[in-house]
Symmetry: C2
Subunit: 317 residues, 2 copies
């Protein structure tokens, strides 16, 4: 029996896990990301925890998969750029490989999350699956016949930056009308700020559910689930655009299943119901489809499981 | 040396061809489609010409590929529906197989055109290719790793019906804001009719180049190539939306190459130049791509060559 390591580096949490050959989680260590402490602090944390996990098992640990919560250049196995200092251009795959002495593979969290859901979550048994993670931004990974569809420049699945609107809102990527600027957690929170300024009397419940400060996407989704009018309005505006994005994916790929992950998708049925309302409105009576739309079953752990799948993949090479 | 037959059934022309094992065209017979004469007339024409081609060669003819210019149910090898009477539900694949006594395979002309360009045209050597045919409507076929990407309901590549606009124009499919209702040959001709009504003094050259009657997409593209102001305006409106559709494909699939086929694409450089202008406007400085956009090299023959590729594929089974 061989084991593998899995690492998931996110902006707020990081996780390291030991998995067996069937992708079963044997042990997971979690920590809070200290953004101020920087890159070297994080690297030391990761290496120490990975060694701790390796020491917990008598079975050989063959490889390690790494999920990074930001843009990654898969070919050079390096971090492309992040807002936190010190990461840009860093060859994280190589560093881990040298640090742990086992083969490592690095990918971004959207691709890792896609692999996690495909092998162990909501995408099991599918031939084709599109995983869309909706948190601060929107990312996605496409699995076709068991393999990630990467594209010529390794830029396939950039769903956050498909143009959904011709109204021309400027996105953080510099493009215009991107899905991310309409339907991400960041977009939800931006709409909530507008409401808080213009109609402060309408946002009380959202503020309360967000812990009393700035309205969070999570607090807003909870308020919408309770039937709060303003929250429902913002949710509908968000899902109206997301439905257009999903329909584009369906028309182009017609996958077996679309799996929605990330923090916003954890609101579950309230999101799915609203999406289906708008998808029904956009439907064509002649061009039908049976692509299923579901939420991720691994929750916050989709990328970690995906990192395990990546580790298992290289351990078989 | 084995040969195969290829058949391309279109709304205005039909073609039957004899191809060798390398996909080289040995002999092609062309005819005009007589829509009034109906289905049985067409079937008799096809069978007779196929037999004529089979009689021209001493090499065994192993299989036949069929491209149909309208919706096809690939699973049942039947025609789904067309505007001409008698075709709906007709098991064309089976009929040809029984008529010719060799294995046959039927697909729609977008998928056939994609295979043609992938194996023998502008997509040669690509790993991933999206073929988009722009004539009266817009169809497409996606080839990934040498195989058509079909989707769960065999509805992948329905590019004509991706929602590009939130302005809500109703499409012939019953949906709203579809690419086809903005960027097809039909959309071009509809815009030209508007101009002819509102500004008859501006459309003289387009009418002339269209043969004196209704303005055709072909006549309009020729006028635009000459610098005609109204034609250029309509071309720009058409390509502005098409660029949005192409960017969606690029963001989702990031293919090696997008091949534009069909009558409208035969205008070549005037279409590509205009497309690139709008793609540059939509570009993100951070999310770049090197997907090439080219016109089909097999022109009207893309689907026939693709039918040959389908025939060769089954002859190897």
């Amino acid at each position: 029996m061989n084991n593998v390591l899995a690492v998931d580096i996110g902006g707020t949490h990081f996780r390291t896990g030991l998995f067996d050959e069937q992708g079963r989680r044997l042990l997971v260590l979690e920590g809070d990301t200290d953004r101020v402490a920087g890159r070297d602090w994080m690297l030391n944390q990761l290496a120490a925890r990975c060694r701790e996990l390796m020491a917990q098992t008598d079975a050989p640990v063959k490889a390690c998969g790494l999920s990074f919560g930001g843009p990654v250049d898969f070919r050079s196995q390096s971090v492309t750029s992040v807002h936190s200092a010190g990461w840009k251009g860093f060859e994280l795959g190589k560093w881990m490989q040298e640090s742990l002495g086992i083969p490592c593979r690095l990918d971004n969290d959207a691709n890792a999350g896609a692999l996690g859901e495909y092998h162990y979550g909501a995408g099991r048994g599918a031939k084709s699956m599109v995983y869309i993670t909706i948190s601060t931004g929107i990312g996605s990974g496409i699995v076709y016949d068991g393999k990630l569809l990467r594209g010529k420049d390794y830029m396939a699945g950039e769903l956050g930056h498909i143009p959904v609107s011709d109204s021309g809102a400027r996105c953080s990527c510099g493009g215009r009308g991107c899905l991310e600027s309409f339907s991400s957690g960041g977009a939800i929170e931006s709409r909530a700020r507008d409401w808080a300024e213009r109609r402060p009397e309408r946002v009380a419940r959202m503020v309360e559910l967000s812990g009393g400060g700035e309205i969070t996407a999570k607090g807003l989704m909870q308020a919408a689930a309770e039937g709060d009018v303003a929250a429902t309005h913002i949710l509908r505006e968000t899902t109206r655009w997301l439905a257009r994005g999903l329909l584009m994916v369906i028309r182009i790929l017609n996958p077996d299943v679309i799996v929605l992950g990330g923090g916003v998708a954890q609101s579950g049925v309230i999101l799915l119901d609203s999406l289906h309302t708008f998808l029904d409105e956009l439907a064509s009576p002649t061009i039908t489809y049976s692509t299923e739309i579901v939420t991720a079953t691994l929750g916050n752990y989709s990328p970690l499981y995906g990192a395990a799948a990546m580790g298992l993949d290289i351990s078989r090479d």
